[in-house]
Amino acid sequence: MERRDFLKVVGTAAGAGALASCSNTGGVPPERMLPYVIGEPEIVPGISTYYRTTCRECPAGCGMDVRTREGRALKADGNPLSPISHGKLCARGQASLHGLYNPDRVPQALVRQGGPKDADPWKKLSWDQAEQQLADALARGRGRAVFLTQNYTGTLDRLVTDWCAALGVERVIYDTFAWEPVRTANRLLFGVDGVPVHDFAQAEVVLNFGADFLETWISPVDYAHGFVQGNAYRAGKRGKLYALSAHQTLTDLNAEEWVPVKPGTEPLVALAIARLVAERAGGAGAGAAAPLLAGVNVDAAAAAAGISPEKIRQIAQDFGNGGRSLAVGPGPAAQHRNATAVAAAVAILNSVAGNYGHTLSFARLEEHAGRSASYAQMQQLLGRLRSGQVQVLLVDGPNPLYAFPAQDDVAGALAKVPFIASFSSYLDETSERAHLLLPDHHFLESWGDYVPRTGVRSIVQPVMMPVFDTKLKGDVLLSVATRAKATLPNAAPTFYDYLRGSWQREVQPAAGGAGAFEAWWEESLKAGVVLTAGAAAPAGGAAAPALQAAGLARIRFEAASFDAAPAGSGESLILLAYPSYRFYDGRMADRAWLQELPDPVHKVTWDSVLEISPVTAKRLGLDDGNVVEVTTSHGKATLPVWRHPGMRPDVVALQMGLGHRGFGRYADGRGVNVASLLGAVAEPESGAMVWQQVTARVKPTGEWARMSMQNQVKTESGREITRDISLADARRLEAGAVVAGASAGSPARESARERYPEHVDVTGNPKGKVVGELQAAGGFAPETVTAGPADYPPPHTYYGEYSEAQPRWAMAIDMERCIGCSACTTACYAENNIGIVGPEQVARGRHLQWIRIERYFEGPEAETAPTHVNFLPMLCQQCGNAPCEPVCPVYAAYHTPDGLNAQIYNRCVGTRYCANNCPYKVRVFNWFTWQWPEPLNWQLNPDVGVREKGVMEKCTFCVQRIRDAQNEARLQGRGVHDGEIVPACAQTCPGEAIVFGNVKDPNSRVAQVAASGRGYRVLEELNTQPAITYLKRVVDASEA
């Protein structure tokens, strides 16, 4: 072949390849491509655009900022203006992008053709056909149609209500977690059917009766944020959380003191505490509850709960002393047969402590928690379905087929309905039974609004073009109404117009928005959230509501009962079902990021485990991973156990959220569905589903399963990775004093201090005389190293390429503010294109987390009776004297001029020496090339490379964000401001535990936080000069 011919061939082939890649637009028709030659004004290739919207993954409704590049959503973070999210998100909110780009989404309108046994029973429909089919079905079933929705608020709620009225459709609202006991108790005691906003930030002492308010309870991000503000050590003070439960959830692990009350006895304990508090207050605040409290026997309550009466007295003392305190509960984690009594007792407790109007008040309600039907009402609906009274069922949100026990026979009820339409974008258990699928846009593709709480209007706005051929539910409803010739009030051609109309009519005046609507609307879109009257807590506190005697009389303050275990062999233990931080009620189980995220407590990924007390486990001869058979009167499950040191010996616990049949590749067939072990029991008073109802038989099978978890240890084995000090020491350290026992000493120094007190000083260093003798004898004299990031580099040292003129990026992490929620981990996955390795590889230890939350049970008997739990976010320490750098033979690991330990992926050969030599073990290796099934790969951050097999990777302090901010500052001809650069983990942390910045600048926040007397550096005795300063956790909040 001639050279010219060769060039021709090559040129033609390259041209054809380029054309082919141009036309690959991921299913979007070519005429809708964005022409970058002319370009939308707000879209500049390479520059991120941010849109504000509202997270709709759980009812809380956090304000959200979504980063997009070239028209694709890449990263979700909290909207700092939102009073719900405070600029933070939980792991579920972070994982909303995996909902948007879920490869198993319903791609377009589908109609059922064959039976459920067929391989592909679905036929594609155009939206026109699909809407017509729905309209026809509604016309046929007029008056016998039901629209089962989740709890919408705001404009969509209005539209659906009007639409249902106009088309003769009955609307039923249902959420699995609807806080029925709390609402019922408030209705009975105060006449308010709602949930007040809890102000944890103002609460110094919190009593928790089974509310997992850091995980799923009502508004977890706001509550976590508030809890940390009220609880974490600052200015010589620290809050206190008492957890009164039989099993510690993540929230309870954050408690200073866990009181292991017998399941079901919470009402008795709460009332006993209330009695003591009221007694001390001289009966003030008890009101109508006074006679009830007078009859409470503290000793009897303590005996029933299996705790000591002194403990109750101590809690009452603290609770009363707090001045501003808060009792919360119950959540689904304590929803037993008498849950309303728990809620009522908690309300009485808050009432006698005078908390209403201060730490919680009915002036502000959690709007989203107000109106859902109860489980009992859902059972009635199922009865009507079963008797054939319903011709048409529309479903949007609830997934009863998964969430309800088998006794409810949801499948049988659904089979009796001739026409079921689902708006679900995912084929979950319930929508799999539908006849017509009308997949709604994901909320990141939708217009809408949301009212999470009184006075807060949060906007839902699309951040990108729809990924699939889905259609906004509001638009479908409007279109169907037109086809059915129904007239809606304020009807508009599209839901977008409807929404704007509603905001123009109502929200703008309510928010006091002046001027033209268009300008105000644009401003509102930029803010993402609009506050109207009543959004802020009333200054000086609101009036305390009075307890109502009539309602009080209806509540039985007794211990809840549990069904006996079925006959058979095995240990009988009460089964506690509790909500999952990662999967909520199960709706998030199809997110690979969340499946891959280790559970904050048991750290297992992708699977269910039965949590069991180490005491019981020992009696049954069980170790972590031993498989047991759990039998209840309603079902049976086989799963491995995990020994949870924080639970009573008479219970076992099983998390909700897994055990799906269907629901996409990531959820299908993983774990155990708790509902399959439960009976259809509704709490009599509130109608809530009873999650804590049965006693199970637990029988070892003798088998062992390799659990998909990497980190199996429970304690530190004396390694002092995490450190804690007493409150008194913390105060003294803050004053600058050196405190024995609180020194930043290594275990060896501690040990030396204990053994040779005459030769070493309090910090473990040899005393002057000894040093002199050692040196005179020609021996080594220990050198005291000041390892603070600010002292970097130490004099006469030369570390890599580090330049004095450059900043030194550093972090300060306050363990007092880390609640262990792991939102940072998911945020890091989203920001840095970290691969999903799957359960088998996690079990082998090939997890790719760049930041991990280490959870250590502490205390002399940490394995069985821990005194407390320390959480420590571990990420690359960006050491000044990094052990990873010199060992890399090819300079893939090197030191940047601004002091980062860089890792050059293209240069990495994969010798793994750097990981071996890293004492923190924060380097992770790509053992294989990991896949992102289309369209999950759309989420990949274009600022960060995607690593192939054989490459080492690790935390970069989000170097792409650092460079971005530096470039921006350079363009503007200025330096980088402190706080301008925020790594993904710090940005999403609900506790604001992580502070990032230039530690060389003494005025930077990180330098100031790192200078705290509580500061220490992990494994600093290795002279690695880490850039991360951890602030010790303060335990023992008692006045000492």
Binding site: R719, I721, M874, V887, Y891, V909, R912, P919, G950, V951
Partner: protein, 469 residues
């Protein structure tokens, strides 16, 4: 003045003609057992490259390695083979310089073993890395990006140390063989052999002038190779000792590794030569005396290695550092999940060789064969214990993990024995496995003058002109 009629070391060799006949016989048509062995070895090589290919295509995760255990059986086997490679140079160079009179009949095979062991060891760093197609990044080659390897990294030192060792030992091996190649050339009948030996023998004619230069070159090369015996394994030990890993960063590592290398190398020489001696009827050349001499060196190195084990345990205990104390084999190793590995190491390397104190054992060929097998196994597990135990239990309890080798890893390791054996078997049939020339140095010269009448003979010293091919 003693009259020499029989060699001290080789009393059963009659004459120079016997030597030529016996040794060059090895180069003739092989028997059935040899062919089966060679077929097995080649099957091992095929398995090795198949498993390796699969691992390259799918990812290094096939090796069974995981976080945080970044090094496992591949590096274990690398160190094992580098260790094996030591005795060749030890026997040929150091014993040559010390004029040890028993080395002549075994040094060629030991040298061949060295070269092939380095060739085998050299595979493993490449097998081990995540992206073997970029392994050349470790070489200092001129490139457009102006990037050199990181000379602070012990892995780069390794590249040089092993590279140098291979070059020098291969050269030494070849140079020492030239007179024998000439002998083989002169007796070769098969055309390809004739051609091969003609080329390789570089026109050697056995002239005085040639011998003069040859012996000089050989002496200098021996002097050059001797420090390498100490340096290579010291550098390999620094792969570990220069790190921060508890259980690795110990100053005792260099002498400990060198002793271990000599120990394992001698064991491997015996493991290979004892069967060869039997199969090829070379009892006269490779005598009980050889076995006993090597057993004595093995006993010495075994004691050094055992001392190092004690040292390691003591220093770990003495630090009070929990990471040190449980990181090495002392506590975690001997009692933890890898107890079998730690105890295998101690039993095979420290306890079993104590039998070598007994003369009967040292002189018993079957007993020595069994003991060397123990030592080979023990030395592999020594490296396994050092590498895997330490990495499994480092400073950070949250990242403790357990490692178990995968099927791919095991196939590659077994395949590497096939690779080594294949080269060694080919060597036996293609190149003179015993040094004809040097052996004749220690034999009494041809008895021509004896026939003419009693005469006093000097001890033979490099009588070059006496060599009659």
């Amino acid at each position: 003045m003693a009259t020499v009629v029989r060699s001290e070391t080789h009393p059963d060799i009659g004459s120079y003609e016997d030597v030529n006949r016996d040794i060059l016989k090895l180069l003739s048509r092989p028997g059935r057992g040899y062919r089966i062995l060679l077929a097995l070895a080649i099957a091992g090589v095929i398995a090795l490259f198949t498993a390796w290919g699969l691992q390259i295509v799918l990812g290094i995760g096939m090796s069974g390695l995981r976080n945080p255990i970044g090094w496992g059986v591949y590096i274990t086997t690398f160190v094992f083979w580098v260790g094996i490679a030591h005795s060749g140079t030890l026997i040929s160079a150091i014993l040559y310089l010390f004029r040890a009179r028993w080395r002549q009949s075994i040094y060629r095979a030991a040298e061949a073993m060295t070269v092939f062991a380095v060739m085998t060891a050299g595979l493993f760093p490449v097998i081990h890395v995540g992206r073997p197609w970029l392994a050349y990044y470790l070489m200092p080659y001129p490139n457009q990006r102006m990037i050199w390897p990181n000379f602070r990294s012990p892995l780069v030192w390794d590249v040089f140390a092993v590279g140098t060792y291979f070059t020098v030992s291969a050269t030494f091996f070849y140079i020492g063989m030239i007179p024998d190649l000439a002998a083989a050339r002169d007796s070769a009948i098969v055309p390809w052999r004739k051609k091969l030996y003609s080329t390789l023998s570089l026109g050697w004619r056995g002239t005085n002038w040639e011998w003069k230069h040859f012996t000089r070159a050989y002496l200098y090369l021996a002097a050059l190779a001797t420090p390498l015996v100490l340096s290579v394994h010291s550098v390999v030990s620094w792969d570990f000792a220069m790190s921060l890993v508890p259980g690795w960063h110990s100053t005792v590592f260099a002498p400990y590794f060198v002793a271990g290398a000599i120990y394992s190398g001698l064991a491997m020489v015996l493991t290979l030569l004892i069967p060869i001696r039997k199969i090829f009827g070379l009892e006269a050349y490779f005598t009980t005396r050889h076995v006993e001499q090597m057993a004595k060196v093995m006993l010495l190195t075994s004691l050094i290695v055992s001392y190092a084990y004690l040292c390691e345990a003591f220093t770990a205990w003495y630090t009070f550092e929990p990471a040190e104390q449980t990181g090495g084999y002392l506590m975690f190793g001997a009692t933890g999940e890898y107890w079998w590995s730690a105890w295998l190491m101690l039993t095979c390397n420290a306890f079993v060789p104590q039998l070598l104190w007994f003369r009967q054992v040292r002189r018993s060929i079957p007993a020595m064969f069994v003991i060397t097998l123990f030592v080979n196994i023990g030395m592999w597990f020594e490296r396994y214990s050092i590498i895997v135990l330490s990495l499994s239990h480092e400073y950070e309890p949250w990242m403790w993990n357990q490692y178990r080798p995968s099927l791919t890893g095991m196939i590659i390791i077994l395949g590497s024995f096939g690779w080594f054996l294949m080269w060694f078997l080919l060597f036996l049939r293609v190149l003179p496995a015993v040094s004809v020339a040097e052996l004749k140095e220690v034999l009494p010269p041809p008895l021509r003058r004896l026939r003419a009448g009693p005469a006093t003979l000097r001890r033979p010293r490099g009588g070059a002109e006496e060599v009659r091919p």
